[in-house]
Symmetry: C2
Subunit: 398 residues, 2 copies
C-alpha cells in the first residue's frame, strides 16, 4: 500500500498515528446497531469513557469532530444572547468563541498572550463584575493545542466557587484526555468535551461529552437554542437502551473499544507518566538547541505537544516543508497569530522514547539544514531525561 509524504512520522498534535490493533478493529464485520451486539457495544464503550473521564454521569458520543462537541456543549445549555467567558489561551480558545458567536451567543474574551495558562484570578474578577449574571458559562481549554500550554482546571473551579458565580464550567479535553490526569466529577466540571483522534489514538470522527447534573438542569430550565443533531437528552434516553437516536458510527465504536482496552492494559497512571517523560525529553532537547518553548510557565507545559519558537527571520513553514520532503516528518505549524513562527511537535498517543529520539534527531538535522542556528545537539539532553526514568519498552501501548 503506498504511503503519503509525512505519514511515516506523523507528529502533528493529533490526529495521531493509529496503532495496529486499533486499525484492525475496522476489519471487523459491522453489527446491526439496533441488535443485541450493537447495544452491548454501546454500553461497553460508554462505560469505558466514563472511567476515562472520571465521571458517574452520562457520557454522550456524536459522529462529529471536536468542533461538533463544542457546539453540543453550548446549544444544550444556553439561550440566544447569553455571555460565555473564554480565557484566550490561543487559537482554539478563539475558535470556540467564534463558534459560540455563530450560535448567537456573546463570547467575552479574556485576552491572553498565548504563552501562559488561563488566569484564575482574572476569571474570578470577570465573574465578580458580572452582577447581572449574564455570563452563563466559562469555556476553558485544558490543553491549548495551538500553544502547548495547559491550564489548571481545579484552580479555575476554585475561582468560580470563591466568587459564588453560577456559570457552568465547560472544559475541552480534546488534546489532554488519556495524556494527562483528568477527573470530571472530582474537579467539579459541568461539561467536558473530548474527541478520539489525540490521546485515544483513533482516526478522527467522534466527539464525546461528559454531562454533569447542573448542565442537564440548564438544558431543562434555560436552554433555548436549536439543538437537533446535538440534543444530548435524546441521546441519553436512547443510550439507556444501548441505542442512539440516529445511526452511530459502528466501526468507530469497535475502534474506540479497542483504544480503551489498550489504555487500560497499559494503565492510565503509566500512560500519563509516559507522556510527561516524553514531553520533558522534548523540552530538554529544545533547551539544548538554544530555542525557546512557546509556553512560558514551567508548571503549564503540555504533556501532549511542545511548540518551539523559531528565532526572528526564520520561517517555520519552510522548516516544516523541508522536514516533510526530506525526512517524511509531519509537524504542526503555527495557527492564527503564530503562523510561521512555531513548530508544534506532537508527542502524544502511540509513542515511545526510541521513536521520539529518532524524531528529535530528524528535526535537529532539518533545523540545521534550514539554517536555524542551534547552540548544540538536543539528543544527549533528551536521552538523559529518558535514561533517568523508567524504560518506555515496558509501557508503550502497541
Amino acid at each position: 500500500m503506498s504511503r503519503d509524504a509525512g505519514s511515516r512520522h506523523l507528529r502533528i498534535p493529533g490526529p495521531t498515528p493509529v496503532p495496529e490493533r486499533i486499525r484492525r478493529a475496522f476489519l471487523r464485520p459491522l453489527v446491526d446497531h439496533r441488535g443485541p451486539a450493537g447495544r452491548a457495544l454501546t454500553r461497553r464503550v460508554l462505560a469505558g469513557l466514563q472511567r476515562l473521564l472520571g465521571t458517574r454521569h452520562p457520557v454522550v458520543l456524536y459522529p462529529a469532530s471536536g468542533t461538533g462537541g463544542w457546539q453540543a456543549a453550548l446549544v444544550n445549555t444556553l439561550a440566544p444572547g447569553d455571555r460565555i467567558l473564554v480565557p484566550e489561551t490561543g487559537h482554539f480558545a478563539l475558535a470556540w468563541a467564534a463558534l459560540a458567536r455563530e450560535c448567537h451567543l456573546e463570547p467575552v474574551i479574556l485576552e491572553g498572550d498565548w504563552r501562559t495558562p488561563a488566569d484564575p484570578e482574572r476569571i474570578a474578577r470577570a465573574l465578580a463584575a458580572d452582577r447581572e449574571g449574564r455570563i452563563r458559562a466559562v469555556c476553558l481549554l485544558h490543553n491549548e493545542t495551538s500553544t502547548g500550554v495547559t491550564s489548571d482546571v481545579r484552580a479555575v473551579r476554585a475561582a468560580l466557587d470563591r466568587v459564588g458565580h453560577p456559570a457552568l464550567l465547560m472544559v475541552d479535553v480534546i488534546s489532554s484526555l488519556a495524556i494527562a490526569p483528568y477527573a470530571h466529577d472530582e474537579w467539579g466540571v459541568d461539561v467536558t468535551v473530548g474527541a478520539v483522534q489525540k490521546g485515544l489514538m483513533l482516526p478522527p470522527g467522534l466527539a464525546f461529552l461528559a454531562v454533569g447534573p447542573r448542565a442537564r438542569a440548564a438544558r431543562r430550565r434555560h436552554a433555548r437554542l436549536p439543538r437537533g443533531y446535538f440534543d444530548w437528552e435524546r441521546m441519553i434516553e436512547a443510550n439507556a437502551e444501548g441505542l442512539f437516536p440516529y445511526t452511530p458510527a459502528t466501526a468507530m465504536l469497535f475502534a474506540l473499544e479497542e483504544a480503551l482496552r489498550l489504555l487500560e492494559e497499559e494503565g492510565l497512571e503509566r500512560v500519563f507518566a509516559r507522556h510527561a517523560r516524553l514531553a520533558a525529553a522534548t523540552r530538554a532537547a529544545v533547551a539544548a538547541w538554544g530555542l525557546e518553548v512557546q509556553c512560558r510557565d514551567p508548571r503549564a507545559h503540555s504533556a501532549a505537544l511542545t511548540a518551539v519558537r523559531l528565532p526572528p527571520g526564520h520561517d517555520a513553514e519552510a522548516v516544516r516543508a523541508h522536514l516533510r520532503a526530506r525526512h517524511d516528518i509531519a509537524l504542526g505549524g503555527g495557527l492564527g497569530r503564530l503562523a510561521g513562527r512555531v513548530l508544534r511537535i506532537g508527542h502524544l498517543g502511540d509513542l515511545d522514547g526510541v521513536t521520539l529520539l529518532g524524531l528529535l534527531a530528524g528535526i535537529e538535522t532539518g533545523l540545521g539544514a534550514c539554517g536555524v542556528p542551534l547552540r548544540g545537539s538536543g539528543l544527549p539532553a533528551a536521552m538523559a531525561v529518558l535514561a533517568a526514568e523508567e524504560t518506555d519498552a515496558e509501557t508503550s501501548p502497541s
Copy 2:
C-alpha cells in the same frame, strides 16, 4: 477475530457490509490533513462525490450521521418559523420533520399511507395554497428506508415548477445514492443530502450535501438559524484549498475514495442494474411466499430494500429474533407505526445474486419455523428472475 450475532448476514437496509477493499483502507497510516497529501485526498474525494451526485456545484462533507446532513440542509437555508413541506412517506420523513421542528422551523406534513410515494399533485396543491410564501422548502426522501417506497424526484420538481413556487427542493438520497440513478443538477434539486453507510458501503460516520446555487443564495439572503458546525460556506471556502474548517475524518476519506473507485470500476449503470435485479428477485420470492410487499405502487418499488408485511397475528420482531439467533441474519424491523409488522430486507451495497438467494432461503426457513403461513417456496421465482438477467458474477463489487 470473534463475530457478533447477526453480523455474518447483515442485511438491514444499511449500514451495509463493508467490502474487504474498503475495510483495508482503514489500515493506511493517517496523513496530516493540512499537508499536501491531505489536501489532494480532499479534492479527489469531493470530485468523486460530484460525479456520483451528478453535480458541478459544491459538495460538502461532514463527520456526522445522515441526521446531521438533514440539519445542515435546513440551518444553511432557513430562518426561525419558516415552513417546510414534508410528504409523509414514512418514519424517516417524519424524523426529518421532527428535526426541523427542533430547529425552530414549522414542518407542514402531507399525510401519507406509508405505502405509496410522495404525490406531486398534492405537493403542487399545497404550494399553490401557500399564497404568503411561508413554505421555504420541500423536503423529500428519494427512497424512504422505513417502507421501501421510492418517490419520483423529477415529478416533484415539475410540480414546483408548474405552480411557480420558489420553495427549495431538498432531497434525501441516503438510501438511494449508488443504488438507483440520481442527477442533482439535471433534476433541478437545490440541496441533496447523502450518507456513506448504504450504497457507498462505508461504515457510518460521514454525511454529505450537494449544494445548488439557489440554496447558496438562500444562505446569503435569508438564513438566520445558528449554523456553527454545519455552516456550508465555511466548508466550501476551506475545501477550495483542499482543507476543512475543522479536523476531517481522514481514515473515512481513505475509505470513501476506495468506495468511489469500486463503484467506478463496476460502472454506475451496472451498479444500478444489479440493484434493480436483486430487488426484483426479492419481490418475486415474496410474491411466491404469498406475502405482501409494503410498497403498493409497482413503479415505486425500492431498489435498496423490500419491506415485507407479515399476516395479522404474526410478530415480525419474533421472526427477526429467530433469524438472528438461528441463522446469523440481521434484517431491519418495522419503525414507528410499522413496529412488529414488517421485515425489511436490505438488498443494497456489496451484494450479489448467490448471496441473496442464500439469504432468501434462510428467511424462508425462518418464516416457516416461526409458523408464518407461506403459499410456496420463493426460491424458484427469485432464481428465475436472476437467471433471466446478466450474471452477477461479472458485476459484484468485491
